[in-house]
Symmetry: C2
Subunit: 655 residues, 2 copies
């Protein structure tokens, strides 16, 4: 992106998008990064719809313009509200900045602001999603029956549909359930034969209402993560997100990771039922929450789409996931599925449909399918690597010609687990770290500027990279005991640790540090990704030796992928050595996949077609895996030739 | 039929088919009248499969042949068992008969005997039904999963189907419910991956079983009458009827006729639920009974087809029939419907399908559609009238070019209701009557030769015809008081009655007689049919004046239609005056319609297509109806020109 200043960070909340400064209004920046925003006047400062709240850094902006003074109340202005199309960072402030200054801005986007056309990001270019939802609502004025034309209630409704539009929607096999048929008969007479019907997929009438209610046509897209569930409530007529909500997956009470949960199911009668009820509680809470925000009824949500890893997928549907955990790790079913909401106990319209996206394999789930769908990797010209970073890292490598995936057990180091002072990305987490190579002085930033209480994933990546550059650790990952003598290198239980935040700086009553074991955990995680990628590439090579298998482009998906420092991620050898401008942070691409499946059913067919195209590579059982993994344990790799641009490594000792 | 001797009647039980004597073996007679029978040797007397029991008249048969002595046990022979392909009536006995002798034969066909290919009767010619059921079973040996091919359980099954046969059955949208998917996964592993799957309509997998069970593929066809329910259990692989059972419709507890039942629903909370439960009790009893006879499990019945009048149709499905009883008398839905057995509480395979045939109109139901389908009236060259005789008489008039229906309120006189000594066709009912014109002596036959207790429909038709021929009544239906003076004409409460069976002959302690009111009821019934037919013909004439609208052929459907005397039915003016050989008694044509829909799904599309072709005529609201009805009250009609062949009428006074 042009005119970036990497010293200035702007965080947009609540959508958690972080961008570098651009010399543009916030409205223009948001357009640039494809955040759907609402504006009636197109950013000309006349409609006043693009109100935003500057939570941090308001003092560095240009003063409120005339337009803003006209369109915002005094109270609003006093509380930090601005118009996104007018407010921008003051250029005189920028000029006054010294090199060490790293100002941060935090900007809150109100819910209303986000209600806009939905687009997806593909390799930096935005793409409009054509609307083609499965659910369509039609307002009908139905003919009344007479002795001359004693046609049944349902057949008169079918005739009205035919008259309304010459559509495939109306054929003799259009299904309607018994209860709705009885309701149809009653509502016809109560409504003077003026009704709204809701048709799913041109196959079934799923609702009948009195009068004209075609505007109220909603769907919800879910991303069921092992830890977190997110739901996006959307209007299917216009593709806008009306509200969103997220929640902890209550299944964590039965185990942090997937294998623990599968074990729980194996060892407990009704284990599956309990875990299924836990995830449904979360989904139904999100339904209530998003509906309250958007002021609609859950019964007006006619379809839900769901992505999630294979185990979450199975448990949500009530399918037994045990065989996913046993060799050869097969799911019960892979294809995209449609089930009635009622049968799944999802509290949207009873007759509404729940679509769950297909699974690529046992360990490459519908979430990865969501990443592929939303990143459109199969349309890329250049060979592209997409990584969804989590406890299980999913890798996708592909372009117009090939498409392969694999899964690697990255461990949960990046989520803060098994790290002495690790934590999730929450207030007080150290998320950015810089180490002065000469003095080993550490500067850091925490989330919400709270006193530090731990280090989150992006902080860990920074810490390792900076410790390497400062030669505190060697390429083997071992502490460089011989070359350093600094108060920050301490010994606890006879083991070395490097202090990131001193005791007096933290709010936990002791220092925050990285141990040798912490570094190992990070090595294992990054080695898993890099060796996984290597194995997939080798497999592709073995299929077609003439293929050009250089990664030219990288998509980093997921919340972690969005916050991580690209340069440092590359520096520790987690991803291949390609220019930063070819590395894209694509956000919650899995969730975006669920959304596009909701708005356009053609993507469901695409997903199904991709199933047949995607080559699944079983990484861990590959016979070269152990060697690849061991070599990738080095920073950035045993073979420095793989990382030609990382010149600093010439000074860092190997072991 | 050739070589008929109308003095000799042969009743085949339990199928209640009555035929006149033919100079043939019983095997040949049964073939002739299209009763499906079992024989391995094709009637050559070598397989011994065609065992029948002679219940009445065995003394008039030829003695057991050598073949029979070889193939039947002594005990069998002693008890009256014969081989149908060998036994016939003795010609010497025939020659010894005097004109007044009217011997009867009753022959019982064991259940096994009937297990044969299913055919339908159309204007006297039999037609093979091609098998094309919706339910297909496939035995599969499914590939096991491996690390090299870690394909999901369901996708491996789909692949096996594709390998098995290149069929439309296997496409990505093949549905399977969650519970069955879990079962599939379990059964695959329990059965060493050798399974039988059951597919409905190339759309859904509805069962998964261990091993090869493709032979066990059953369906059941139901005819839900207002009074009686009949069920036919059939094997869908070979089209054979495996067993049948019938039962009183328990709804009669809530009202004898349809209007009473609709009124009950309107006036009682849960009225619909109660009537629905009543009919389901009957259907589920029949399922148990037929399964026991055929030694199969109800869960192996994968589909049920249902015909019935519109009110029975609605109540069975749980649809509110109230609007059928209110002008303009529209049903809630007309088209053929498919619902899950479980949702309807029908105790076949839970995931099995229930198909209910389409309704022509509020008062012309799926039973009439069944009559049309099985009689193939729409393929006839000659203009044909089909009458399904019941409380509501349904009329169908059509040929290759036109097709029209209407319903007339015939009343339940023909079922014995509102008739002083009327009764249903049961043991002790007078079913045949002859009156000597000179002496007015009455001879009669009763069902099962019991002492008479009343008169059933066919007896009533005979009685009226004979009373006319004997000039006991006049063409107006009034007793001919001036011309007769006979002990059989008695007065009760100052009203005339004609005695059919004298007090000493009956088992009810008094005489059985016909009153003036009884004659009126019969006049109203026959007038309803004839005038109904006239109204439909007039309507067709008004549409196309050049059309030839002479009825050339008549199909009499239903149990009553099967037992009635053709000549006398014509004589009283209930049906048009055409030669007897053009009048066909086609049995329970409605039930046959349900059976052919079960065996070949193409007929369901035919039914749907017919819906658009059939012209429904509202008879009672036609402005000429009153006059037509009044004229048809005369015997045979006010206008004798309509019945040119009934020469006897020249002697019968008009009023």
């Amino acid at each position: 992106m042009e005119n970036q200043n990497k010293n200035i960070l702007i965080d947009f909340e609540p959508i958690s998008r972080r961008v570098y400064y651009l010399d543009k209004t916030f409205y223009e920046i948001l357009l640039k990064i494809n955040v759907p925003i609402q504006s009636l006047c197109g950013g000309s400062g006349t409609c006043g719809k693009c109100k935003i709240l500057i939570q941090k850094g308001s003092e560095y902006l240009i003063p409120p313009t005339n337009d803003e003074q006209k369109l915002l109340s005094e109270n609003d202005l006093a509380n930090g509200w601005r118009l996104a199309c007018r407010a921008k960072i003051d250029s005189t402030f920028l000029k006054s900045l010294e090199k060490k200054d790293k100002p941060q801005f935090r900007i809150f986007l109100p819910e209303d602001f986000l209600l806009e056309d939905f687009k997806i990001l593909t390799s930096g270019a935005q793409k409009e999603i054509n609307l083609n939802p499965t659910v369509k609502k039609i307002y009908l004025e139905v003919e009344k029956p007479s002795l001359e034309k004693p046609i049944s209630d349902f057949e008169r409704v079918l005739n009205a549909i035919k008259t309304y539009q010459n559509t495939q929607m109306c054929n003799e096999s259009l299904y309607i359930d018994i209860n709705l048929l009885n309701k149809l008969s009653r509502i016809l007479r109560e409504s003077d034969h003026k009704i709204t019907i809701t048709i799913w997929n041109e196959k079934e009438i799923i609702d009948v209402e009195t009068g004209d209610l075609i505007q109220h046509n909603y769907g919800i897209a879910f991303d069921i993560g092992t830890t977190t569930i997110v739901g996006y409530l959307m209007n299917l007529n216009n593709g806008k997100i009306y509200s969103l909500a997220s929640k902890l997956n209550q299944q964590t009470a039965y185990g942090e990771d997937l294998i623990t949960r599968i074990t729980y199911i194996r060892n407990h009668e009704n284990g599956l039922e309990k875990l299924n009820a836990a995830v449904l509680e979360g989904l139904n809470d999100i339904i209530v929450k998003t509906c309250e925000k958007a002021k609609i009824q859950p019964s007006q949500i006619y379809e839900a789409t769901v992505v999630g890893n294979s185990v979450m997928h199975h448990i949500f549907l009530g399918l037994n996931p045990i065989n996913i955990g046993l060799s050869p790790y097969v799911p019960l079913v892979q294809k995209g599925l449609n089930y009635k909401a009622k049968g799944l106990d999802l509290n949207i319209c009873h007759r509404g449909n729940v679509y769950s996206a297909p699974l690529v394999a046992g360990f490459v789930g519908a979430d990865t399918m969501g990443v592929i769908l939303s990143s459109k990797i199969e349309d890329e010209k250049e060979l592209t690597l997409a990584i969804d970073i989590g406890t299980n890292g999913e890798l996708v490598i592909g372009n117009q010609n090939i498409l392969a995936t694999g899964s690697c057990a990255a461990g949960s180091a990046l989520e803060g687990a098994h790290i002495k002072d690790g934590m999730r990305a929450a207030a007080g987490a150290i998320e950015r770290i810089k180490i002065e190579p000469d003095t080993l002085d550490v500067t850091y930033a925490t989330i919400k500027n709270k006193k530090p209480i731990g280090i989150c994933g992006s902080g860990l990546v920074d810490a390792i990279a900076e410790m390497l550059k400062a030669k505190i650790i060697m390429r083997s990952g071992n502490f460089n005991k011989n070359s350093i003598d600094n108060e920050r290198l301490i010994r606890t239980d006879h083991k070395l640790e490097f202090v990131i935040a001193k005791k007096e700086e933290t709010s936990i009553g002791r220092e925050i540090s990285l141990s040798q074991n912490d570094i190992r955990q990070m090595q294992m995680a990054k080695a898993a990704f890099y060796s996984g990628m290597r194995i997939i590439l080798k497999k592709l090579k073995s299929i077609n030796d003439s293929m050009d298998l250089d990664i030219k482009q990288i998509f980093l998906a997921g919340a972690f992928g969005n916050y991580i420092d690209k340069e440092n991620t590359k520096f520790i050898g987690m991803i291949p050595d390609i220019p930063n401008e070819k590395i894209f942070q694509i956000g919650n691409a899995a969730g975006t996949g669920a959304q596009i499946c909701l708005l356009n059913k053609d993507y469901r067919q695409t997903a199904q077609d991709l199933l047949n195209r995607i080559k699944y590579v079983e990484i861990a059982t590959d016979k070269t895996f152990q060697r690849e993994y061991a070599e990738a344990m080095y920073f950035p790799h045993l073979n420095l030739e793989y990382f030609p641009s990382l010149k600093e490594y010439t000074n860092i000792p190997k072991r």
